[in-house]
Subunit: 389 residues, 2 copies
């Protein structure tokens, strides 16, 4: 199996960019190519894997070829990978395999979503179809509702409180202040977040991620090529993935995502590492309760202790063992569905190369990304490390 | 690089099955599992790659996890691959890489489309979005129109005639008579096909594939596992893929698909084989002119000689060197977009194991599948062979 490294990573700002599908993608590709230390020609790319749910933007089919062509990769084998909000996490996994198999040396992994060119009604519809249709969506359950059920159950089982969730929101908003690519860059005081407008009890506005447009782009290379392109490759040490039942009622518990646990176990085993080794983790906090559950499912907190972990601020940048969502996370950096997984890796790339500026995590050597589709129907976890001294 | 074999393959009949998304998928999985000689448990599957454009059927996001769950693969890492009509050709390519990389031993590749539960208007829309949106679809160009332009230009450049195309239609309808899974099983006399209702001049009804529902399923295994599961594995000898500009005006010619030529060159090189080695080829004949061009682009006919190849019946089953679309092809077997690429491999699997009954190609040892997305924006070509004596 050929070793694989990330040698370039770039993204647009996440935010409101309706109608800018091609422009966003070009900007992300350009930022990515500029980040490569050596000389990279897009015509040398062997394969393109694009993660997107493609529900906006105008080119709904053959989207990968369309965007490949626009960014100077016409001819390159391209495909779109769709797994709801985990689309580019899986694009990364499959791009990694193309190199690991020996078939490719140079792979571009992209993530993109155009959400804000749809009417609110169409937006709701296209978000809803990534959840369970037969039992949940058609019965009126929305994603905020789904995650509210998880929050209520976690409070019931483990005594977590809405204040615990508010701590997550406040932390991620604080982290995003230092992120030039964040959708929401404003300090949110605890009292304000605690008193947010109710969305789905107990989740308020400040528990929910925004609806973002954005694009992110990564360049992966085989070990030999990576070393010729940069002195600071970011190695992919482990990849894990899993699926699960779409509907909550088919799962044994509301307070854990089995897909996260399976994917994490696979990734840790492949990397020969565990949660204690992580200097930072970019986790899928589409809602604050999702981050709380992720800290437990990834082994950063004990089962049932996710609320305590949050309340004690153990995920705050450079305060606990592992910085959690130092970028601001989906909550504040933003969540352009298909771009989110690749965007997490952009953050990790900068952190492990010590190029994260004001939000740099000290001595960042090992990082994890956690990308979830729907309410846990799909999950991809990746572990990255820089060259060991 | 680990060698990969197809050890199981099954499909539904292609045809009108509106509203039967889950049932079709179950039927294809069951047929596939039944075709495996040894003992296969779906819970042992390492990964699921599902090709679908997912424009019908009700579960538009996280479709792969949804269908995985329904067929007893809950938990298995699953993703949907979308490349318009080439979706499952690329799913196959990426499933192959998962095994070739050493990460997986057992992979399920699926293809599925539910087209007939949409209104005609929505169907047209969802078909159209796989072509170029900005220059073609919004200006009124449909897929029949696109391929009609190619037919007219080929006639202009090389003197091919509509009668040449009629020969392709008649051949594929004749082949489908022996295929229990074909959408259209009826003998079509030359005179009838030649006098079909005009769709887009020069293409008539008999030049166009039908709008089909259907599902297909493959099981791939690593070499060692394959040998433990069957005495007659169907080896994947080569995989090639490419993309291209979506819009015709960006391409240098209307009478060749560069993506096909690139993908074929890659696949032939990987296999160490050429067109003269092929006993059968399942090619992407969404329109008869597409088969004519494919015979040239794949090297079965000389450039400009596709019309002659058709007229002389050199693709007829067991008549020329290479049987072309012995299954009936998209024209008569049917074309449920995302299922087509995997369905081509189901045919090859049966042929190379001499299980194709009345449509068996004599001494079939080497086969090719050719799966195109849009009007050539994406293409995947695969070459298969049975164990050499």
């Amino acid at each position: 199996m050929v070793d694989v490294a990330v040698v370039g990573a770039g993204q647009t700002a996440f935010g409101q960019h309706p109608g800018a599908m091609k422009d966003m993608w070009s900007e992300a590709v350009r930022a990515c190519v500029d980040s490569v230390d050596g000389d990279l020609r897009l015509s040398d790319v062997d394969e393109l894997f694009l993660g997107s749910t493609a529900f906006g933007g105008g080119q709904l089919g053959n989207t990968a070829a369309y965007l490949g062509e626009h960014a100077g990769m016409a001819g390159v084998p391209a495909r779109r990978v769709e797994n709801a909000c985990a689309s580019s996490g899986f694009a990364l996994r499959d791009g990694w395999a193309a190199i690991a198999s020996g078939r490719a040396d140079l792979v571009v992994v992209g993530g993109l979503e155009t959400m804000n060119d749809l009417t609110p009604e169409r937006k709701r519809y296209w978000l809803g179809v990534s959840g369970d249709t037969e039992w949940e969506r058609l019965a009126g359950l929305t994603f905020p509702g789904t995650y509210a059920l998880m929050a209520r159950r976690h409070a019931h089982e483990h005594g977590s409180t809405h204040d615990d969730l508010v701590h997550i929101s406040v932390k991620n908003h604080a982290h995003a202040l230092d992120n030039e690519h964040a959708h929401l860059r404003k300090a949110v005081p605890f009292e304000k977040a605690a008193a947010g407008a109710m969305i789905a009890d107990p989740l308020t506005l400040y528990d929910c991620c925004p609806t973002s447009d954005g694009a992110a782009c990564l360049v992966l290379a085989s070990a030999d090529l990576a070393r010729s392109l940069t002195d600071t490759p970011v190695w992919m040490r482990g990849s894990g993935a899993a699926s699960d039942h779409l509907a909550l009622h088919d799962r044994p518990s509301l307070t854990t995502l089995p897909a996260t646990k399976k994917a994490a176990a696979q990734a840790y085993a492949a990397a020969g590492l565990g949660p204690k080794d992580l200097d930072l983790a970019e986790v899928h906090d589409c809602f604050t309760i999702a981050e709380l559950l992720a800290t437990e499912d990834l082994g950063l907190a004990e089962v049932g202790e996710g609320g305590t972990f949050a309340r004690e601020g153990r995920g705050r940048r450079n305060e606990g063992r592992t910085t959690v969502n130092g970028s601001g996370g989906l909550k504040a950096k933003g969540h352009p569905l298909g771009a989110t997984g690749a965007g997490q890796v952009v953050e990790v790339f900068k952190q492990l190369r010590e190029q994260a500026g004001a939000r740099q995590v000290r001595d960042a050597e090992c990082a994890l990304t956690h990308n979830v589709g729907g309410s846990g129907a799909t999950c991809a976890v990746h572990i990255f490390g820089r060259d060991r001294a």
